[in-house]
Symmetry: C2
Subunit: 229 residues, 2 copies
């Protein structure tokens, strides 16, 4: 990261993290030694807030407690839509029924989902992610969620707009073949897949998505990018 | 019901009830004055038990506490499939993750769902039904559930086999346009929709399902059937 910043290239961190505010997320990375600030992060919750404001939507939040501060400025009285994130322990039967009732009570239900992940791994095992609960509400209400976050095209477009860079001049580096590589490419960007983190060898035979190149790690991605300047 | 029984016609009660054993269900109806016995009821749980036995499947149960006795004779150690019903308060984050882990740990996940209802009404409001949670697990595990219960063809075929009657000689009476009428017709039976219970006037414009006739209530259905004998 330091080499990229020193080169003068513009940089943005795109995350689907919805279990914490950007502040918390950034603090965690700073603690690990990364030079990163809140202003450099594109995340689903602020993107959702922009949509809510634009369309005068008042959300019923079905999100993690730690994410609620991101919606501090949003009017939540008398809700006319549902925003669902990775609510984890907040995915209770009662909370899901409550979100469902808001949706089914509307003529045209509006469901905004902070990502569409299927599951993720924690120290105590695999957990269902927001996408699974999104599908439950979609089916019950016969509605399609608007997905904010990777791999949504609009999410990458926000990040590009924040940098003031056209997609042809941007490159995505990520470990997730669908959310990072596929999403960025559909937006007109090039994309590298790192062979770390979520990467699995079977990703290299993915039926729909093919990265512009593979790299063994972030350092190697930086080498390649800086060579081309 | 008494008039049908007196006529000598064979009779079967087909229910998607999965919040209680057949015993409890029958007692409730007997309490309301209906002449009905457990042996006359076709319900999803016993149908699932037959499938489990046939394929040597050991289920992880994600069902209502009151339904568990229906699975008393089934080996549930070291599960190699998941059976999901309308678990209501048992649809906790922990229980859903546990069911998910059983499925995702299998090479070919087997998910058996006791119905595919979207939601239902209780005195304290609308509740998400088994179908919504089925969709969540289907999406997370990239698998399609085997649905037991109405409107599954196999479910109606079981009821017909129990009576020893071919579909052409049977008639379904129900209030649910898709689960009762559509399911029975796809099985080769005729079907009447009663204009009571779940019936909604918009059912009469349903895009795919058209009952053989409408009746105002069960008594009128019996009148019509007995007239044709």
């Amino acid at each position: 990261l330091n080499r990229i910043k020193a080169s003068g290239l513009k940089l943005r961190f795109c995350t689907n993290e919805t279990q914490a505010t950007r502040e918390k997320f950034v603090k965690k990375l700073q603690g690990m030694g990364f030079d990163i600030s809140v202003a450099e992060v594109t995340a689903p919750a602020p993107a959702a807030c922009r949509i809510l404001k634009e369309h005068s939507l008042r959300p019923q939040l079905l999100v993690h407690d730690d994410l609620v501060p991101e919606f501090a400025e949003i009017d939540k009285a008398n809700p006319n839509c549902v925003v669902i994130g990775d609510a984890a322990e907040n995915f209770t039967y009662a909370n899901l029924n409550e979100a469902f009732r808001v949706l089914i009570g509307m003529e045209k239900p509006v469901l905004i989902s902070l990502g569409r992940g299927r599951y993720y791994k924690e120290t105590d095992g695999l957990k269902l992610d927001v996408g699974a609960y999104m599908k439950a509400l979609e089916y019950a209400c016969d509605v399609q969620a608007e997905v904010v976050g990777k791999p949504a095209k609009m999410f990458f477009e926000s990040a590009l707009a924040e940098m003031g860079v056209p997609p042809q001049q941007a490159i995505m580096i990520g470990d997730d073949i669908v959310n990072d590589v596929g999403g960025a490419q559909r937006c007109g960007m090039r994309a590298l897949q790192v062979r770390t983190g979520k990467y699995r060898p079977c990703d290299e035979n993915h039926p729909h998505v093919k990265p512009d190149a593979y790299v063994n790690n972030l350092a190697e991605a930086v080498d390649i990018i800086l060579q081309q300047l």
